[in-house]
Structure formats: structure tokens, C-alpha cells
């Protein structure tokens, strides 16, 4: 089990998905800093309020009240987070949606369901600055 010193932020309104990712990242991968938001209300304030600046932000797309695309725009609009890696984590992997994700400016996308066998290696690739489009 590798130790991950990076700080991760996960925005997800589905409780089960949150739990799964927490188990994978903390229990299976050994991530030390994982912050989770249950909705996108006052999203930017919450990010700013975090004790650490996140290195990787994982965004669910279908989140209320503001969706993943809008959250991404807000992140990109803030110069402090210009180099933050933002990955879409979504179960909506219809073609049109993937196209939207690519055009939207995400650093990558990972299709749900995430898998405990494959997810860690995807995160490793993301941390190596690789653009990961795991949407099959």
C-alpha cells in the first residue's frame, strides 16, 4: 500500500458512492488527505475553507445545486486553483456526455462504477500528470 501525501477532494451527493470511494482511497490506497463534500452548495467557499489546498478534485457531474461543469468553471475562474487537477467521476458516460466532458476542460474522466482493482492505478496515472479518460 502506497502512501499518498497529496490532498484529494471528492464532491458526491450519493452516500453509497462516497462510502465506496472513501473505502477504496483510504483503506485500499492509503490516502491520508481526502475531503468529501455532500453537495455543491457554496462549493468555492468550502474549498477555500479546507485546511489544505487540494491537489486533485474529483467531481461527480450530476450534483445539486450546481453541476460538475459549473463547479469546474468556478475552479478554473479562480487563479489559485489554475493548476489543480480536476477529474470527472460520473456514471453518465453516454457519448454526448463524454464529448461535453472533454470540451468542458476536465483533466480526465473516470466512469462509475469505479473498481477497487483499477481505480488506484488510474489515480496513479493522474498524479503522473497523465490525462486519463477511463470511460469505457
Amino acid at each position: 500500500m502506497t502512501d499518498y501525501t497529496q490532498c484529494f477532494l471528492y464532491v458526491e451527493d450519493d452516500a453509497l458512492s462516497r462510502e465506496i470511494l472513501q473505502i477504496i482511497m483510504i483503506n485500499a490506497m492509503g490516502v491520508h488527505h481526502l475531503h468529501v463534500l455532500e453537495d455543491s452548495q457554496d462549493f468555492m467557499q468550502k474549498i477555500v475553507a479546507l485546511p489544505q489546498k487540494p491537489d486533485v478534485i474529483l467531481l461527480d457531474i450530476n450534483v445539486m445545486p450546481i453541476d460538475g461543469f459549473t463547479m469546474l468553471q468556478q475552479i478554473r475562474a479562480d487563479a489559485r486553483y489554475a493548476d489543480t487537477v480536476v477529474i470527472a467521476l460520473t456514471a453518465s458516460v453516454m457519448n454526448e456526455e463524454v464529448a461535453r466532458l472533454r470540451k468542458g476542460g476536465f483533466n480526465g474522466a473516470i466512469a462509475k462504477p469505479v473498481n477497487v482493482m483499477s481505480f488506484p492505478s488510474l489515480i496513479d496515472r493522474v498524479l503522473l500528470s497523465e490525462t486519463v479518460w477511463h470511460v469505457v
Partner: protein, 656 residues
């Protein structure tokens, strides 16, 4: 180029200036005798020329006689005769000068006759005369007679007896008698012959004149008929112009109606083309339910700038024309036959009306009318415009209705499509999310992350995970085929797809699937072109097709070999996935490409939806390629598919 031109051009025709004596004489003669430009009549010009010619020749002959007399070669010319000749020459010269100066042919002609008579009649009384001068001086008379007009002839007829018979008694008073009776007699005979000749010449001239007259008449008649023809052409042109203007008006009206969408616009289109300001145009659309009498005013519009007017009146529909050919025209309402109709229009202050009905699907849907506040005689052209306009208006209105229907239908279709699309997206999301949890938690447990697990439990959890994955692939397939069937499959086209990456992914998946089956997996080195170009397409979908074919091969082959070969063939890539499985019977081959159909073998081997091949086929086709199968039962199957390297259709769809 230059020389070619010169060769082709004809040598210049040069007429050398005529220098022969004869041509000089001709030119001189023409200069002397040619009539001036002020005389335009051909006959007059001819007379002028003749007269001048006679004068010149007379002078010439006289000069010759005088020269001969002077040289004493002609002994019989007496001095008296010489005097006569000289007088004749002077007369001729004088006449010629007068002719050249005044251009008065008639005076010169008559003058020359009279003077010639004098010269002819007097010499017989002169002593020592042999009358040679007479013969000479007669010449001009003879010729001038040829261009006499009848009235000149009259002068001649009156003057001649006076000279012939009047002079001797006058001379006798002075005791002078003709000394040469023979000469006198000869003169009389010559003069008599002359008279006959003159009559003859005059007749000939008369004949020519008559012919000329007829020619002139014919010419006049021709000119007249030309004029009438011209008039007819003008009239016809005018008719054509009227017709043309009419059709132009109609064209503009119908063109305007094609653009218009409101009754007001239709009215305006028609009014713009009507020249009269004596009446206005109005369109009334009727309520849809037309029975006996209808309320008018659902839409009613007048051509006045005040725009749409609503009427709360009842239109007596029985009086509205019931066919395209009919029109109701009342130039003066006071003479209107129908009291109901009369009352109807009079209450609106309308005194003249022309009404034509607008038909849509053979039903009167409205009327188009001209209305005037005074009695008015509508012109044929205006009525024609009205008649045709109703047809155009009917077509325009029908088209508007149809268009509105189409727009509505299209909007509904779009709404349905959007709903379907939304439903699919939700399905995809809603089905995957719980599955996400099922698969992950099962795996967490199986991996021992939730505490100790014994082998039996791990085995059971493994089966649960496997079933979960299968369910996930089923969901994916069903969503895919639904998208394809509803035409909502869109490719995510990228310009440079590295096929080796996709082939590796397929190979890895195949190896994972094969478990413990004794299958040799061969990537045919011979057959995988090491220089495959990158292609334009949807990477994810290409991988999906490869995975589908490889996993089918692994699934249906219990032992043997699976071979994958890829090569470039022209402007496309040919893929082949072969197995040494049971093969597919001919009769089943078509079926396996149908959605939701599985062959008996397919069912036996389970683990599939039967959607993989139909999906793959459509995905390949969406790329502009095709997918097919060759199989022999008992030997195995080979699935082939092609992908264009650079499909123009796909290039236009490049998303990223």
C-alpha cells in the same frame, strides 16, 4: 501570328482612278448634265438630264457646223443659214445657262420650243437661205418634245399653226414672201411628222407615267398596309404588354404571398398591384365550421393602414361564390338583386363590390373582395387579379396551415426525442449507481477489507461480482442498442487513433476472459502490419468492437487458436478475428446480426445478451466500414471488419 493573319486577309482591291479618255468624257458629261440634288423626283431628274444633254449636243453640233462653214468645206451653207445656226447656238447656250442657274425645267423646255419655232419658221423668208439652220435647230425641238408634258404639247399644237400659217400673211404685208416654197413644204412635212412623233412620244410617256402612277399607288397601298401592319403589331404588342404586366403582377402577388404569413400581408400584396384607388381590398377568413351562415371576423383584415379590423356581422354565405370560376360582382349596390346581401353591404357603406372565394381543400375558407364606397365598374384586369389572387391566397393559406402543422409535429418529435434521450441518460445513471455499490462492496468483502473471509464465502462473493459485472455489460449493451435503434448514437470522433493501443487492449481483455481454457492466442505477426496508420474515428467504439469480437471468439472456443490480423488495404484497414471454435451454420449466420436473437449455441454458452454483434455492426457502419463473417461448421469462424483510414464524413464530425 502576324504572318498568318496577313495570309488570311484578302489582298486589297484597288481600283485605279480611271484615266481613259472615254471615262473622262463620261465624267465631264455627267458633270454638265447631272441634275442638282435639290431635284429629288426621279422623273424630273431624268428631264433635267435630257434637257441639258440636248442643249450640250446642240451646241456641239452647231460648233461643228460653224467650224466647217468657216473652213469653207461646206459650200451650201449660206450666210443666212450661218446666222440661223449662230442664233440657235446662242439660244442653246442661253437655255443651258438658265437651266443650270434656275433648275426650271419647264420654262427652259417651253422656251426652247418657242425659240426653235421662231428659228424654224423665219428662215424661208430670208434671202439666200437654204434652210440648213432649220434642220439643225429642229434637233432640240425633237428632243425637247420627248419630255413634254401634255400642257407643253398643247403649247406646241397652238403655236405651230400660228407660226406656220400666221407668219406668211404677216410677212406678206411687208411684201416679203417665202423665196423657197420647196423648203417650206419640207418644213411643213417635217413638222407634221414631228407632231405625230410628239403624240407618240407623249403616249409613251403617258404609258410610263401611268405605270409609274400605278407603282406609286401600289407603293402607297403597300405603305398603307405596312402602316396597318405596324398598327397591328403595336396593338398586339400592347396586348402582350398588358398580359405581361398582368402576369408580372400575379407573379409579384404570389411571390409576396409565398413570403407572407398574415392575412394583412396577403391583402397588401394584392393592393400593391391594383392601380385603382377607387376601391380597397379586403380578406375575410371564416370560422372553421361553415354552415349556412357563418360569423365572420375570426380574422378579418382590410388593406387600409389601420390594419386588421374585426367584424361582428354575419356574412350571408349563400351568396359567396361556390367555385373558383365564379365571382360576385356588383358595380352598383342600388341595382343589387339580393336584398340580404344589399343590406349587408349597405350597412357598411359599401356601394360596389367584387367577391371571389378562397378555397382550401375545396372548402370556402374565406373571401377576397374589392369594396368601393361609390358605384364602381371594376376593370377586367382588376377582376382577373382578384380571381387569380384568391387561388394564390388559398394555396398560401393552405401552405401556412401545413407549415404550422409541420412545425408543431416537429416540435413534438423533438420533445419526444429529448425525453427519450433524457430517459436513456437517466437509465444509464440510475442503473449504474446502485450497481456501483453492489460490485464495490462485494469486492471489498471478497478482498478481506471488511474482515476475514473464508474460501466458501470468497467463492460466493466472486460469483456475485461476476454476475454484477455481467449485469453491467448487459446494461451497457441495452443502452447502446437503444441508442442505435433510436438514431441517437453519436460517435466521438478523434483525428489520430493509434490502432496498436486498441489492439493491445483487446488482447489483454481476451487473455483475461480465457481463464483456464487451453487456447493459444496468436497475434499473427505476419498479418499485423507494423506500419498501420493512425485513423479517424471513435476510439472507444473501435475498442468496443474489437473487444466484442475477441470475447466472442474466446467464449465460443473451448480449445484451439484465436488469431487476430490487421492490415492496410487501400484506404481502409481490414481487421480479422479468427477462431477454431464450432463455427456458425449458414442458416444462423444472418440471425446473429439481429438484436435480441441468439442461436442455440449462443444460448448454451450464455453470458451474453445477443446484442454484441448487432452493436458492433452498427458501430463499424457508423464509421463507414462493414462487418461480415465467414464460417464453416466444425472448423471455426472469422469475423472481418473494415474501417476507413480517413473518412471525410467522420473528419467533419471531429469533436475534439
Amino acid at each position: 501570328m502576324q504572318s498568318a493573319l496577313e495570309q488570311n486577309s484578302l489582298p486589297k482591291m484597288v481600283t485605279p482612278a480611271s484615266t481613259t479618255v472615254w471615262s473622262r468624257i463620261k465624267r465631264g458629261w455627267a458633270w454638265l448634265t447631272e441634275a442638282p440634288a435639290t431635284i429629288t423626283d426621279d422623273e424630273e431628274r431624268y428631264r433635267y438630264r435630257l434637257l441639258a444633254g440636248v442643249m450640250i449636243s446642240t451646241i456641239g453640233v452647231a460648233i461643228v457646223i460653224i467650224l466647217m462653214a468657216l473652213s469653207r468645206n461646206i459650200r451650201y451653207i449660206t450666210n443666212t443659214d450661218m446666222l440661223g445656226v449662230m442664233i440657235g447656238v446662242l439660244i442653246a447656250i442661253g437655255m443651258f445657262v438658265v437651266l443650270r442657274r434656275t433648275h426650271r425645267i419647264n420654262i427652259v423646255a417651253v422656251g426652247s420650243i418657242l425659240l426653235a419655232l421662231v428659228v424654224t419658221a423665219i428662215p424661208p423668208y430670208m434671202p439666200d437661205s437654204r434652210n440648213t439652220g432649220i434642220y439643225f435647230t429642229l434637233l432640240p425641238v425633237i428632243f425637247t418634245g420627248m419630255f413634254f408634258r401634255p400642257r407643253h404639247l398643247l403649247i406646241w399644237i397652238v403655236a405651230l399653226p400660228i407660226f406656220l400659217y400666221g407668219i406668211p400673211p404677216v410677212f406678206a404685208v411687208f411684201g416679203i414672201t417665202a423665196h423657197n416654197a420647196e423648203t417650206r413644204a419640207a418644213v411643213e412635212v417635217i413638222i407634221a411628222i414631228m407632231l405625230v412623233m410628239l403624240v407618240f412620244v407623249n403616249e409613251v410617256q403617258g404609258l410610263a407615267r401611268a405605270r409609274n402612277q400605278r407603282l406609286i399607288q401600289a407603293n402607297d397601298a403597300l405603305r398603307l398596309s405596312e402602316a396597318s401592319l405596324e398598327q397591328r403589331v403595336i396593338n398586339r404588342t400592347k396586348e402582350v404588354e398588358v398580359a405581361h404586366r398582368f402576369s408580372e403582377k400575379l407573379y409579384r402577388i404570389s411571390a409576396a404571398m409565398n413570403r407572407t404569413t398574415t392575412a394583412m400581408d396577403i391583402i397588401k400584396a394584392i393592393s400593391d398591384e391594383i392601380e385603382s384607388h377607387a376601391f380597397s381590398t379586403s380578406l375575410i377568413l371564416l370560422e372553421p365550421a361553415v354552415t349556412g351562415q357563418v360569423q365572420m371576423g375570426r380574422i378579418a383584415a382590410a388593406s387600409t393602414p389601420s390594419g386588421v379590423m374585426a367584424f361582428d356581422v354575419v356574412l350571408p354565405l349563400g351568396n359567396v361564390p361556390q367555385s373558383n370560376q365564379e365571382m360576385l360582382v356588383i358595380p352598383d349596390m342600388r341595382l343589387g338583386q339580393d336584398p340580404v346581401l344589399r343590406a349587408f353591404y349597405e350597412q357598411m357603406g359599401i356601394m360596389a363590390v367584387a367577391v371571389a372565394s378562397i378555397f382550401v381543400e375545396e372548402r370556402v375558407i374565406g373571401i377576397l373582395s374589392y369594396t368601393a364606397t361609390t358605384a364602381y365598374d371594376f376593370s377586367e384586369e382588376d377582376l382577373n387579379i382578384l380571381r387569380v389572387s384568391t387561388q394564390v391566397a388559398g394555396a398560401a393559406i393552405e401552405r401556412q396551415w401545413r407549415y404550422a402543422e409541420q412545425v408543431q409535429i416537429a416540435a413534438q418529435m423533438r420533445a419526444v426525442d429529448a425525453m427519450k434521450s433524457q430517459f436513456l441518460a437517466s437509465m444509464s445513471h440510475e442503473l449504474r449507481t446502485p450497481l456501483n455499490a453492489i460490485l464495490n462492496f462485494t469486492e471489498f468483502v471478497a478482498l478481506g477489507m471488511m474482515g476475514e473471509v473464508n474460501d466458501r464465502q470468497r467463492d460466493a462473493l466472486g460469483k456475485a461480482t461476476e454476475s454484477g459485472r455481467h449485469l453491467l455489460s448487459l446494461i451497457n449493451d441495452v443502452l447502446d442498442i437503444t441508442k442505435i435503434e433510436s438514431g441517437m448514437m453519436q460517435l466521438f470522433v478523434e483525428p489520430n487513433i493509434d490502432l496498436y493501443t486498441e489492439l493491445d487492449a483487446a488482447k489483454v481483455a481476451g487473455l483475461t476472459l480465457k481463464h483456464n481454457k487451453p487456447i493459444a492466442y496468436i497475434e499473427d505477426i505476419e498479418d499485423i502490419d507494423p506500419n498501420l496508420p493512425n485513423i479517424v474515428g471513435d476510439k472507444r467504439r473501435i475498442r468496443q468492437v474489437l473487444l466484442n469480437l475477441v470475447s466472442n471468439a474466446v467464449k465460443f472456443t473451448d480449445a484451439g487458436t484465436i488469431t487476430m490480423s490487421v492490415k492496410q488495404r487501400g484506404d481502409e484497414i481490414l481487421f480479422a478475428v479468427s477462431d477454431t471454435g464450432p463455427g456458425i451454420a449458414k442458416e444462423d449466420q444472418a440471425q446473429i446480426f439481429e438484436p435480441f436473437v441468439q442461436t442455440e449455441q449462443g444460448i448454451q454458452h450464455a453470458g451474453g445478451t445477443g446484442l454484441g454483434l448487432p452493436i458492433s455492426t452498427r458501430l463499424v457502419e457508423a464509421h463507414g466500414g462493414r462487418l461480415w463473417l465467414e464460417s464453416i461448421v466444425g472448423e471455426g469462424s472469422t469475423f472481418y471488419f473494415t474501417l476507413p483510414i480517413r473518412s471525410e464524413t467522420l473528419v467533419q464530425q471531429i469533436s475534439a
